[in-house]
């Protein structure tokens, strides 16, 4: 079994028959599967590298910067309530994970 930390999450890559499962720890202490039955026939080092690349794609480190969605307000009478624009394409990828960019207290 191979373990790695990424973006403050703990992942493990575990062999099952000739395939690999990727699991990760949930905040409540239980674990969930990010992938099951992957990378058939690969050695541990290759599977670990593929798993890390896949996890970086599936769980991108990033900041979603959203502005007010002024075109779709919820209205109550004349009152307009403007929520966040969750469809705004303004997505900033922060390409350093928590390991390469440690917290400074």
């Amino acid at each position: 079994m191979h373990s790695f930390s990424y973006n403050d999450m703990q992942f493990s890559v575990e062999k099952r028959d000739d395939r690999w499962d990727i699991s990760y720890q949930l905040p409540n202490g239980s674990s969930a599967l990010a992938g099951a039955g992957l990378f058939a026939g690969l050695q541990e080092s290759e599977a670990a590298a593929r798993a890390l690349a896949l996890i970086k794609t599936i769980f991108p480190v990033g900041i979603r910067s959203v502005g007010p969605d002024v075109t779709h307000p919820n209205t109550i009478g004349d009152l307009k309530i403007v929520g966040p624009d969750v469809t705004h394409p303004n997505f900033i990828y922060w390409n350093k994970d928590s390991v390469s960019c440690p917290k400074v207290l």
Binding site: A32, L33, G35, A36, G37, L54, T57, I58, T75
Partner: protein, 264 residues
């Protein structure tokens, strides 16, 4: 195209029809990407597929976001090396009539809000478009055989209280004609597109509704029960394997009729 050995991506794969589609593909030997907004649903379905002995990854994504769509396609190809089937099950409802009248004055007292309109159009139409577009891009650039499956609805004929949903679903139903026509024009022969228009289906949304209302709905269904999600999944599986099915929308309703017995 055979399901066994192919790679499928299903949005809304965390419950309802999407979950049934994912599990149908996994049981028949496909590798699957489970895409959903709700992480706990993704986790549950991926675990179920593991228990079936299948191959799966889970990707949390919002289909209205181009960045999320690009990420789910990239993740699928990274995990499995290709993409053959994309099924756009992700959908929402925000029901309401366009106008409501005050019973005493007869004047308009309320209008369907733009928030309810836009949310449904964004998820059910734009989300489907983005899923089909980027999946097709990956299939063309990868040279892989493919099938695109927009999920429409029998309510594409126009359902009272669902102007947003019906508008999106009738547009989804038209996608196969346009997409395959464009593929023909561009010389793209390796990708088909078939939409599915389910009738009232036994998803948590319907089985959890008022049971009297549900009973009234079923009076108009010749089959006498809700369509099972697995039956929808089965017809999608058939679409994968039957190459003559293309550029069309298939209804699977159990014989849903208007109250006087005219088939919808």
């Amino acid at each position: 195209m055979e399901i066994k050995g192919s790679v499928a991506l299903v949005t809304g794969g965390g419950n309802g029809i999407g979950e049934a589609v994912v599990k149908h593909f996994a049981r028949h030997g496909a590798r699957v990407a489970v895409v959903d907004m709700v992480q706990k649903n993704i986790d549950r379905v991926v675990k179920d597929i593991k228990d079936l002995g299948g191959e799966a990854i889970g990707i949390q994504a919002n289909v209205t976001s181009e960045a999320d769509i690009a990420r789910m396609i990239k993740g699928t190809v990274e995990a499995f090396g290709k993409l053959n089937i994309a099924v756009a099950c992700a959908g929402i409802i925000r029901d309401g009539t366009m106008l409501s009248l005050d019973k005493e004055t007869g004047k308009v007292s309320k209008k369907l809000g733009l928030d309810k309109w836009q949310a449904v159009i964004d998820t059910n139409l734009t989300g489907t478009f983005l899923t089909m577009r980027d999946a097709a891009e990956a299939m063309v650039n990868g040279g892989w055989e493919g099938l695109l499956v927009p999920i429409s609805s029998v309510n594409k004929v126009g359902q009272v209280g669902q102007i947003n949903y019906s508008s999106a679903k009738v547009a989804d139903a038209l996608m196969p004609k346009t997409i395959v026509g464009e593929f023909l024009m561009r010389g793209i022969r390796n990708i088909r597109c078939v939409a599915i228009a389910p009738g009232y289906t036994a998803t948590p949304m319907l089985t959890g509704m008022n049971q009297d209302a549900l009973k009234a709905i079923l009076e108009d269904v010749h089959l006498g029960r809700l369509v099972a999600p697995e039956e929808i999944a089965s017809i999608i599986g058939h679409c994968v394997e039957n190459e003559a099915l293309n550029a069309t929308t298939i209804e699977i309703t159990g014989g849903l009729c208007y109250p006087k017995g005219i088939a919808k």
